[in-house]
């Protein structure tokens, strides 16, 4: 497409941080078609690679502007269209992390989370993510992740991130089960059926006490399981202070969650196990 060598692409990646390829498990670079196509178009009339990269980035960012505009004006069909257009240029994971989540954050910043636009937009986003998750293939690899949902409801600002984590983890082929941390009754039967290899507490609304009771119930029924936090900014109490936090981006959090399932200790912080 670009008529340049692999060395040139790697040089651009180092200097301009663009294009940003994914890595396969074998560490091979996989480029996103949309990024490369946007760069090809920009290079055609460009005076430098720097300015072409800048224009290519701008053209990719325009998807976010369109989505924010559509949600702010309650035009949900246009929002669906913006996501379709974004998906034509990116993978599902990158569409979620580069378009959907930034747009929702921008909507919250502009309109406030007490606005009608937030109510409509946030609910649309969580429904979009749930729909995408329903369309993922059935679990194809061993391992299950239990997510303790500590968000308030679908309008909690962390809710789209938790849904995005569910989607990202599901797309890796593992089984993902989410229950609110308050729904502890019958958790033993759930653990017997699912047999999760790790637990993630996601969201910052529910109190540390509530989360600790959930952790106790899981420990009592499932034994010591690796535990990590996701988007739990308020966690500062002693009960969870030693628990590792996953990165904010769902794809990065998923990668570490998979490492937990494989029995690896999480970096930087102590990997606390439930009941240990």
């Amino acid at each position: 497409m670009l008529n340049v060598s692999a060395n040139t692409l790697r040089a651009w990646e180092r200097r301009f941080d663009y294009p940003q390829p994914h890595r396969t498990p074998g560490k091979h670079r996989v480029y996103v078609y949309g990024e490369v196509a946007a760069l090809r178009d920009a290079l055609r009339d460009g005076l430098s690679i720097s300015s072409a990269v800048s224009r290519a980035r701008e053209s990719l960012r325009s998807d976010t502007h369109i989505l924010v505009g559509a949600l702010a004006s309650f035009e949900l069909e246009r929002a669906d269209g913006a996501m379709e257009a974004a998906l034509a240029m990116r993978s599902v994971e990158r569409t979620v992390e580069e378009v959907l989540l930034p747009s929702i954050a921008e909507l919250a910043r502009r309109q406030g989370t007490d606005s009608a636009a937030w109510a409509i937009g946030c609910r649309w986003a969580t429904e979009w993510l749930r729909r995408a998750q329903r369309m993922t293939p059935p679990p194809a690899r061993p391992g299950a992740l239990l997510i303790g949902d500590a968000t308030h409801d679908d309008l909690d600002p962390d809710a789209p991130f938790v849904r995005a984590l569910e989607l990202a983890a599901s797309r890796t082929g593992i089984r993902v089960v989410t229950i609110p941390v308050a729904n502890r009754s019958g958790v033993a039967e759930l653990l017997t059926a699912v047999r999760p290899g790790a637990v993630v507490i996601a969201g910052g609304h529910d109190s540390d006490d509530e989360v600790a009771r959930f952790a106790y119930a899981v420990r009592s029924a499932g034994g010591a399981l690796p535990l990590a936090l996701f988007h739990r900014h308020a966690a500062g109490g002693e009960q969870l202070s030693a628990t590792p936090s996953l990165p904010e981006l769902p794809s990065e959090a998923t990668a570490l969650a998979l490492a937990m399932l494989d029995g690896q200790a999480l970096p930087a912080t102590r990997n606390r196990r439930l009941g240990s």
Binding site: L2, N3, V4, S5, N7, T8, A11, W12, R15, F16, L43, D45, G46, L47, S48, I49, S50, S51, A52, V53, S54
Partner: protein, 166 residues
Amino acid sequence: MNTARQLHAVPAPADSGPLSLFCGHCGKPPAEDFDLDAGSRVCTRCNLGLLLEAPESIAPKPDEAFLIVDRSLAVCALSRKAEKLLGMREVDAVDHHVTELLVPADAESQGPHALSALLVAAATDGGQEGGGKAVVRPADEFGVRFNARIGPCGPTPGALVVLANG
């Protein structure tokens, strides 16, 4: 009353003379095995610049610093030597107005407008025959002056500013 518009003679675009090819990053001419018809203008020497063309009299020598601006006077490229000379990375300079990097340093010049006019003329209709000249200095820095050669470059129309120590 005759309302017909009067026709005026307009100057023809300057005759650019023979053109020279150079890389917009390293400033070097294309490698001997470079094939322009292969569909890519990326410099195979440094991999970080596009090959541009400019009149031979204005095109930078390999050891000269230069920058490229477009018709809106936004910086499009900063050569490797210009990055060192101006203390700024190309990626930080791109899309900024040229006067954020360079301002006129000639006491007799007519201010930034004269420099802007030279650049716009070069980027749109080729500018003066043989290229324009200006004395410039880095913005917010005094005591450093450069003699600048200003002329057109392409293939996409742009203005080339070659800096030589004043």
